[in-house]
Amino acid sequence: MKKVLGITFGRLQRRAVGLVLLVLVLTVAVFAVVSAYQSRMLVKIVGETRDEQQSAISQTSEATMQQMLEATLIRTTSLQANVADNDFAEVVNNVYMLQAMAQGLFENRQGLLPEAFRLPDPSMEGTPSAMVLCEAGVDYTQSEYLGTAAHLSVPMIAMHRISDKIDGLYIGLADGTDLCVDEKPRIKLDGNGEPIPFPVRERPWYKGAVEAGGLYFTGIMKDAFSGKLVVTCSAPVVADGELVGVVGIDIVLESMADFQSAAANGGAVFIVNDKGQVIISSDQTGLFAAAEANVARDLRKLGSEELSQFVDRARSETTDLELLTLDGREYYMVGSPMPTVGWAVVSAVDKELTQQPERRLLGEYDKINVDASEQFRSGAARVGTTIVLMFAAMLILGALAALLATRRMVRPIEEMTQNVITCGQTGGLFQMKDSYRTNDEIEVLAESFADLSKKTKRYIENITEITREKERVSTELHMANQIQSSMLPHIFPAYPDRHEFDIYASMDPAKEVGGDFYDFFLIDDDHLCLVMADVSGKGVPAALFMMISKTILQSCAMLGRSPAEILRKTNEALCSNNQVEMFVTVWVGILEISTGKLTAANAGHEYPVIKRPGGRFELIKDRHGLVIGAMDSANYKEYELQLEPGTKLFLYTDGVPEATDASNALFGTQRMLEALNGAPDTAPEQLLKNVRKAVDSFVQEAEQFDDLTMMCLEYRGKDVQTNEN
């Protein structure tokens, strides 16, 4: 018993609780492993799903973006190309118109009156007006052409008013003068109100048109006075085979607002001319920015074959949405031709920009995912904590439940154990109690105990009874033994007053009472009768048979019969009513004390041993008759021995030669004779003791099996007695 928290636990109970706890812990462990595995799987699935979704979003987004771009960019670009072409076509038409008008005027100038013209007038600022400019050193008043050209003032002013794309119109004349129409007369005058010289024939539009011999577009250039970036479209005027001047129209790039708005989309829209130069662009500073003609790069010569081909293609047809890599960046590009001027409008969108929504989407999605994962994790942690608490509660409740259950089970067993121990100590009867009536194995056990207890008690009573009985029998046998012994002559010296002989005998029964017996008695003063007998069998029956035999033998002897007659009579008497077929071997001898003549008869008994004076002990191989009690018809022969004084006669039963040692070897008559001859001249008593000692040392540990009965007679004769007397 062990005390924990004031409660006493039996070993049984501790084992039961331990078992329950073990089962619980194992269950929890299995559950924990499964949970952990599932949780890991879940996290893995969430992660994989997230990756898959992101990839799908990415692909879908990119595809969608590309489709959108393709749809819109191609449409807007070709639209813009159309619009731009229309705008330029309008300007070109106007240039052609001016050229035609100028040509007509100059070819017919003979019949025309010179029209008035004047220098820039600051008061006309903000209103389109015609003004004269001239090269340094040229006197415009002397000009032959100005008067004719001035006829164009009205149509040029009209053109300026109609079109918002026209910044200025002019006709440069071969004599270094120029008639110009625009809204800015002030900037053409210096601080003193004098006109600023204008190198007419040096201007690119003039030279270009003369060189081209037809319609000519300048690249982007700065306006001579305002410094604004303009593109000029010009055409030479030839009258009667003579170059008289060049007509030109300035197109203000800022006026093409569409291109500016395009920039808001995050892309660039630009016009590329037949020289590959960007002439108008929404891109102010980047790759596709417009530049003045003298510094503008040819896009086809930037080193990108792709771009070069794209630009050429764009000037002839509307391209597909193409992805080009320029300066390490990717651009979606669409080009559309402007057929009137042989240029192209190109839209370019940095791929990076198209990916921004996708990135935002992915970022947003990732944020949602991360939030969800975080919530999942914290949720899982909460669930984990709950599970741990639940398990703790399970363990505690399980332990308590097991404790209570086992207490209920174990208490009757403990009581029973105590009860059994008490019963064992006091020898009391095990009593059934109500607490054992548990209606299960405990009750069966208790009943078995009660039953066993009763049986044990009865058994102990029986044993006590039997033991008592046995002790009684034993006592009686002991008494029988005493009676038997007392019936044999057992007081030595037996005849202290007879010096003619000495006699000594002993009997050691194997069991309480034996079947051996010896006897000696005086028939009369001169006749000593000696009897040595051995009844077959052992114990009480043998003892009883021995008693009868002894009595009959003695009776017959006392009647003075000879040994053979004694045996015959005894045999008859014993055979007449022998139901158990017991028999007895008998040697009987009658010594005539005065003469030493021994008459003897042997009924199946061992050979007697004789030691004549001066000789050694030796067997007398006498004649044997049948054992007494076997056959009623048996006959016995007697024989005579003459004993000299000093002769010793040794008689014994088969217990002596047939004593066996542990290995079943027989003591034998030879060893018996040796024992006797060891000290042949000692007194009968000592001789018997010597034999006994030899038998004991031979037999050693083995059980004494047969009775050991011996008798020794020493015949001294009359002479000895006389001498002693």
Binding site: V535, S536, T585, H605, Y607, V627, M631, A634, L666, F705
Partner: protein, 99 residues
Amino acid sequence: MLEIRKTVAKETAVFALEGRLDTVTAPALEKALAESLDGVTDLTLDFEKLEYISSAGLRVLLSAQKSMNKRGTMRLVRVGETVMEIFDVTGFTDILTIE
């Protein structure tokens, strides 16, 4: 220790004994004989391997001899020297048929 091997065929019975026929073992032989001798007229006891016989054994032989005298014959065969000596000493040679 005594080993008894018995062969019973109708009226003929052979008992071969091995070991010691003494107080302890004699009842076994007595029982075996009592069980088997019904209707047997020719009983043979083979004493070749019998080492020793005590008075209790002699009693059983005597009983058997008397029983067989009433209905047939009993003979002892191959009796050893030790046992023969006991028969001589006890005079049983006079009442037993020893071959």
